[in-house]
């Protein structure tokens, strides 16, 4: 019974994490400019990291693998938001105005715009 509960919980977390990544991906493609795209990608990414890694750790149980997963999760939780901050800050310093009305299709270099 307890096994089933843990398994179910883990799968719920993994699915939610997947949904988060999907929403982030759609947001990064659909939103109008750089800052909103970063916003969409970063918040969902952090949430998905938490959900997915907790889900996998529940699958792994109390093992060495869980400890390694925890280390990777902490690493991603530290670096992800930092990278987002650095990206947004670099954009701001290079003169891109955080104005929600601007529609830039060139922020991605035009290769997929």
């Amino acid at each position: 019974m307890i096994d089933f509960a843990i398994d179910a919980l883990s799968w719920i977390l993994l699915t939610l994490g997947g949904v988060c990544v999907l929403i982030g991906g759609i947001g990064a493609l659909r939103l109008p400019n750089l800052y909103t795209r970063i916003h969409a990608a970063s918040l969902t990414d952090t949430m998905a990291t938490l959900l997915i890694f907790t889900g996998i750790m529940l699958q792994a149980g109390f093992t060495l693998a869980s400890l390694k997963l925890l280390a990777i999760m902490v690493f991603l939780l530290l670096t992800g938001p930092t990278a987002t901050y650095a990206l947004a800050n670099a954009a701001l310093l290079s003169g891109l105005k955080p104005d929600a009305a601007t529609i830039t299709s060139k922020v991605t270099g035009g290769s997929n715009g």
């Binding site: 670096t79 930092t82 901050y85 650095a86 991605t108 270099g109 035009g110 290769s111 997929n112």
Partner: protein, 326 residues
């Protein structure tokens, strides 16, 4: 299930490759190349080649991206337009691609145990490694001992590449360069990346050392460790400024690492000869042949790690020193 994932990754790989070719903005190309390397690393990992995956992730996605960006800072971001000879190039690429695809029809199936590569010396390596060297990671045994000549050659390739880049870029630029290098502050005004970087760099270096000295038991070894440690130091250089990184590890030390690493590898080979064995036959290094093999592999892996780390950092600094010129 894993085959579906592998196919997905390979499809992404093709899409990324096409995007790299089509993109005219070189900055975008560099970023896509980094993604390409990461996808490649994931592919290697699916094929159970964890050692190669580690190298690809650290060198391909990490160090080369930074070096490419440093090179881009010296040139322009836009690809030069050229209208000539495109049809010839396209034609030859198409013919080559068709030939390669035709050649794959004769390739054995993925993971086929009857494939020629699994019939030649590979079974012998797998069988004899516990007896000769007694370490769990056969890749390290093959790389360090059985095919030691090849690895020595690779280290000298790294050495030569480093010397070549230094000859082209390492010429000391006149006057103010040194001053400017000390001035260039990295991301000094970016507090958050700096704090997080300071937190992470010790762990990156520690992980590099773990990969270095755990290479006999798990995936890893000198090449991977050298690249990982180099990424740690490059991160430090990006955050604190190139001058700070050069103050931490000065140029002579870097050159010493490159030369010393290559020499250490060669010296182990000579030592083997002096002690009555063949070149790079580590069995004679100790009274117990198995212990001698392990000792030899640890020393040459250290040499490989030193050479790779020193070479990558020297190349990075050679580009970065040019960058800080007006």
């Amino acid at each position: 299930m894993i085959i579906v994932f592998a196919l997905f990754l390979l499809t992404l790989l093709v899409i990324t490759a096409l995007a790299i070719v089509r993109s005219e903005n070189l900055f975008v190309s560099v970023m896509l190349l980094s993604i390409f390397s990461l996808l490649m690393a994931a592919n290697f990992f699916i094929l159970d080649a964890a050692d190669v995956a580690l190298t690809e992730a650290a060198v391909g996605a990490g160090v080369t991206t930074v070096i490419f960006l440093s090179a881009l800072a010296l040139t322009t971001e836009r690809e030069k337009q050229q209208a000539t000879a495109q049809h010839v190039a396209l034609g030859s690429v198409c013919i080559l691609a068709a030939l390669i695809i035709y050649a794959t029809f004769d390739k054995p199936r993925l993971g086929d145990p009857e494939a020629p590569v699994h019939q030649h010396v590979a079974p012998w390596y797998l069988e004899m490694t516990p007896e000769h060297i007694d370490i769990p990671n056969v890749v390290t045994a093959v790389l360090g001992s059985y095919r030691g000549y090849d690895t020595l050659g690779e280290v000298f390739v790294v050495f030569t590449a480093c010397i070549g880049v230094l000859f082209i870029l390492g010429v000391r630029p006149p006057e103010q360069s040194a001053k400017r290098t000390a001035e260039s502050g990295g991301l000094r005004h970016h507090l958050i990346p700096q704090v997080v970087g300071r937190l992470l760099i010790p762990f990156i270096i520690l992980f590099g050392l773990y990969v270095q000295f755990h290479g006999e038991y798990g995936p890893g070894g000198g090449f991977q460790a050298g690249a990982i440690i180099a990424t740690g130091v490059i991160l430090y250089a990006l955050l604190e400024g190139e001058g700070a990184a050069l103050a931490a590890i000065p140029r002579p030390v870097l050159l010493g690492l490159v030369v010393g690493g290559a020499l250490l590898f060669g010296a182990v080979g000579i030592a083997c000869m002096l002690m009555g064995g063949a070149f790079l036959d580590y069995s004679v290094l100790s009274a117990d042949p198995v212990l001698g093999q392990q000792l030899g592999i640890i020393i040459i892996e250290a040499g490989v790690g030193m050479a790779v780390c020193g070479a990558l950092l020297s190349i990075f600094h050679a580009f970065a020193a040019r960058e800080s010129q007006p």
